[in-house]
């Protein structure tokens, strides 16, 4: 849309990905692949990058803890400044925010942001060892509480409060599977029916196996540049970063959140006007100077099918309890009023933690440039992402063109 200025000063010059899958190779290899694609897309030489920011991966040893320098070395030391971010599932957005802040401060002209992961099979589980003071360890030992069980709590609540059905949740998967069919970077590119979802095993009532996203290998990268650099590159009408929200919760956080065993209490202070997830989107809109009514396309974190419905409401794309009616009316399908997850979402990708929030930004960049072949949201000019991780992390990025 026109009339949206956002906060200018940071341009998305290039984006690139390594396809998601279970490739069983090093995360470094995926990261370098994505980085080179993003650099080529931007028309920027690696030698000219003055800042590299890596998204940390915690399951790949020391090289993963210092991902920024690991990627820099693999691309060939070029003397760039370096940073590495970790914010659980919001890692990629925090890495983008770090690069954006240095560009806005005038300390960087050309920044490369890379996130990549190689993941184990099955449930994500805590690191080994006994840690009686670590909630992420305690929730498994005392409760047997896996990530899908948290997703299932939110899903059950939608059913009891808003009349959501298992068929509604399945319809999210059906929609996203169709969206992802033409996406070369998606891991799963296959039509799925409501019956397929309902026939898959129940993992945690009411969620079936096909309601829950897998873990994947993959990598995503973006090249962010200053206005001056964008002009030098001759980028006309580029995609801009209008906002990156990485707000933490406001006390008391009254909605149960992974991996905690309880919420804050409202004994001393009443719960605020907004939930944590609502505040993530609200801060992004405020920073971009737009409202949810300006959004043309959204990439939201569908760790489960039901969570996509929660996010639509958390982002203000519809009123509380109305996500199912939008879904049923086809309004969140490409061609509808507000297409959600045109990339196919986590349903088609599976989660590659440090890469996923960057992948959301890559998809929006392609959508806003009109280059999302086979899944284009026609005329999209404003896109928003939403993402949430453990321990009070979350993110929302607004891109405009």
């Amino acid at each position: 849309m026109s009339g949206v200025s956002g906060r200018s000063g940071v341009v998305v010059a290039g984006v690139g990905m390594h396809p998601w899958g279970k490739w069983g190779r090093s995360f470094v290899e995926y990261g370098v692949h994505a980085a080179r694609r993003a650099l080529a897309d931007a028309g920027v030489a690696w030698a000219d990058v003055d800042l590299v920011v890596g998204g940390e991966t915690v399951r790949n040893g020391y090289a993963g803890y210092v991902a920024g320098s690991t990627f820099a070395q693999a691309l060939g030391w070029n003397g760039a400044r370096v940073a590495t971010s970790y914010a659980a599932c919001a890692t990629g957005a925090q890495a983008i925010d770090t690069a954006r802040a240095r560009i806005l401060a005038g300390l960087s002209d050309v920044a490369l942001v890379v996130g990549a992961d190689t993941t184990p099979k099955g449930f994500l589980k805590p690191n080994a060892g006994e840690r009686w003071d670590d909630p992420d360890w305690l929730r498994f030992r005392v409760l047997g509480m896996t990530n899908p069980m948290y997703f299932a709590l939110y899903a059950r609540r939608r059913m009891d409060l808003y009349g959501a059905t298992s068929e509604d949740f399945a319809a999210v998967k059906v929609k996203n599977a169709r969206h992802g069919l033409a996406n070369d970077n998606a891991r799963y590119r296959k039509e799925v029916s409501v019956e397929d979802v309902l026939a898959s095993a129940v993992v945690s009532d009411p969620l079936h196996l096909l309601d829950i996203c897998a873990t994947s290998d993959g990598a995503a990268a973006v090249v962010l540049v200053s206005d001056a650099c964008a002009a030098r590159l001759g980028l006309a009408d580029p995609v801009r970063v209008a906002a990156v929200s990485t707000v933490t919760p406001t006390y008391p956080q009254a909605v149960i959140d992974m991996p905690l065993l309880a919420t804050d209490s409202t004994a001393a202070v009443a719960a605020g006007e907004r939930t944590f997830k609502e505040s993530i989107g609200a801060a992004a809109y405020e920073e971009a100077g737009i409202g949810p009514e300006d959004v043309d396309v959204a990439e939201v974190y569908d760790l489960s099918t039901a969570l996509e419905l929660d996010w639509m409401e958390d982002l203000g794309l519809c009123a509380r309890g109305e996500a199912e009616s939008l879904l049923r009316a086809g309004e969140t399908t490409i061609g509808g009023r507000i297409p959600v997850n045109p990339s196919g979402g986590l349903a088609c990708f599976g989660e590659a933690v440090p890469a996923q929030a960057i992948a959301q930004v890559c998809e929006l960049a392609w959508q806003l440039r009109g280059q999302a072949t086979g899944r284009q949201v026609e005329g999209a000019r404003v896109g928003v992402t939403a993402n949430q991780g453990l321990f009070g992390h979350g993110s929302s990025v607004v891109l405009v063109r």
Partner: protein, 149 residues
Amino acid sequence: MTSSPPATPVVEGWFTDGAEPALIAARCTACGDLVFPPTAAAACRNPRCAGEEHEAVALSRRGRVWSCTDAQYQPPAPYVAPQTEGEPWRPFALAAVELPEGLVVLGQVADGFGVGDLRVDSEVELVVEVLHVDESGPRTTYRWKPVAS
């Protein structure tokens, strides 16, 4: 014949046992903020409170279901299965329960009950049951039991 070792809580200080068991929260002596599981930290989590002292208080034994689910596959370690070797693992239910003190606490649902026995806003009561048996003997935990209406 040797007597079996006595049951001990899986975590010390989280709940009381006996006829009327209850969860133990840490209450800030300055502002009254409640924290469960009880924190060992001195500083209050209320950002507007400079309190540096907590006292142990019992929480209400009854609350209302915020939501519930179950585990139909065995969770990974450090979860410890309650069954002895050779016995099949059994799914268990779990509820998030809103207490009158204004916090939601996750807990397993009492033995013999499942998600079919619960819905959002139904009433539950705290009980203490054996979670699993380890080298020190039976380890107990708090659980939520549906209140017959």
